[in-house]
Point group: C2
Chain length 184, copies 2
């Protein structure tokens, strides 16, 4: 598993933040030379594809400061310390959309930016949705607008670059493939 | 486009690195309160799905220090300053695999981690491959092993978590969908 392993010679913590930490490590390369690796530490996250009884997808629009624009994403949120991803998924779905789900199925997990970050996203499908509350239970610095769209509308949002992130693009492509397989 | 926009009150550059910069911004939230945003600046990247005449996919295995393990990915690389993504794609394909391509088609672009980073990946399909050189032209600190796999083998690598990143998972799912559509 560890082909071309790089051994850490020294490690310097540059920043410890609310969401991420930044570490710079001096490493020994497979050929014996040295190099530096800039590494962002992230607690990991979940993302949820919530499908309503009518077959619509629940999405959230929010402003992303890193991009200086708002984009439309599937609901997602960071793992809290020691929290099981399934619990995070149920919690974030309820907080961001007001829905509970009867069924939660793990679809895939993937690293988002292996070149510089250890962020992993665990992706789930949530079905059997029931509205628990109209008022959202968002974090203090979180502002989202919830929308329900058809698969066709979601595909259009990808084309218009309103859906513009990897996890949501993966989710929409998954639903497209599922539709094609079911229609065979 | 800028629903729930957050205005920057102050910006502090914490780190300027070889690959990423880290900035912390104090922002004014839509409700007038303030918060901090931790933002990783990245030059952006391309990733390429190289398909051989035999229908195999060319993948590269490399050690990812952020994950402390090696994973198998589609070829990818950072944009150099002022470089057009298409040029980066052609350059990186040749450097990492030794192949030139006759046809390069843009598939999708997406942000990888909009919660904390501005990294965007432009994803291309490369076809009409010809081997230009056997020796790879890698960066000084880059060590990769090239492999050619069938779609079935790639799907198995996803299941085994040897393929474990968003761009490669998206690419394999895209090829699976293409196969299903073609077989209808």
């Amino acid at each position: 598993m560890n082909k071309f392993e790089e051994n850490t010679l020294s490690s310097q913590t540059i920043f410890q933040g609310r969401v991420i930490d930044l570490i710079v490590e001096e490493v020994q390369l497979p050929d014996g030379k040295t190099s530096n690796r800039e590494i962002v530490k992230h607690p990991g996250a979940v993302a949820i594809i919530p499908i309503t009884a009518e077959g619509k997808i629940i999405l959230v629009e929010q402003f992303r400061k890193a991009l200086e624009r708002s984009i439309i994403e599937i609901p997602a949120g960071k793992l809290e310390k020691g929290e099981q991803p399934e619990h995070t998924a149920i919690r974030e779905l309820e907080e961001e959309t007001g829905y509970n789900c009867k069924s939660l199925t793990h679809l895939i997990s993937f690293y988002t930016s292996p070149g510089f970050a250890d962020e992993i996203i665990h992706l789930y499908i949530a079905e059997g949705l029931t509205k628990k509350q109209d008022k959202l239970d968002l974090d203090e610095d979180e502002f989202v607008e919830v929308m329900e769209v058809s698969l066709e509308e979601a595909v259009q949002l990808v084309k218009e670059q309103k859906i513009y992130d990897a996890k949501t693009a993966y989710a929409i492509q998954y639903l497209q493939m599922k539709r094609v397989v079911e229609q065979r």
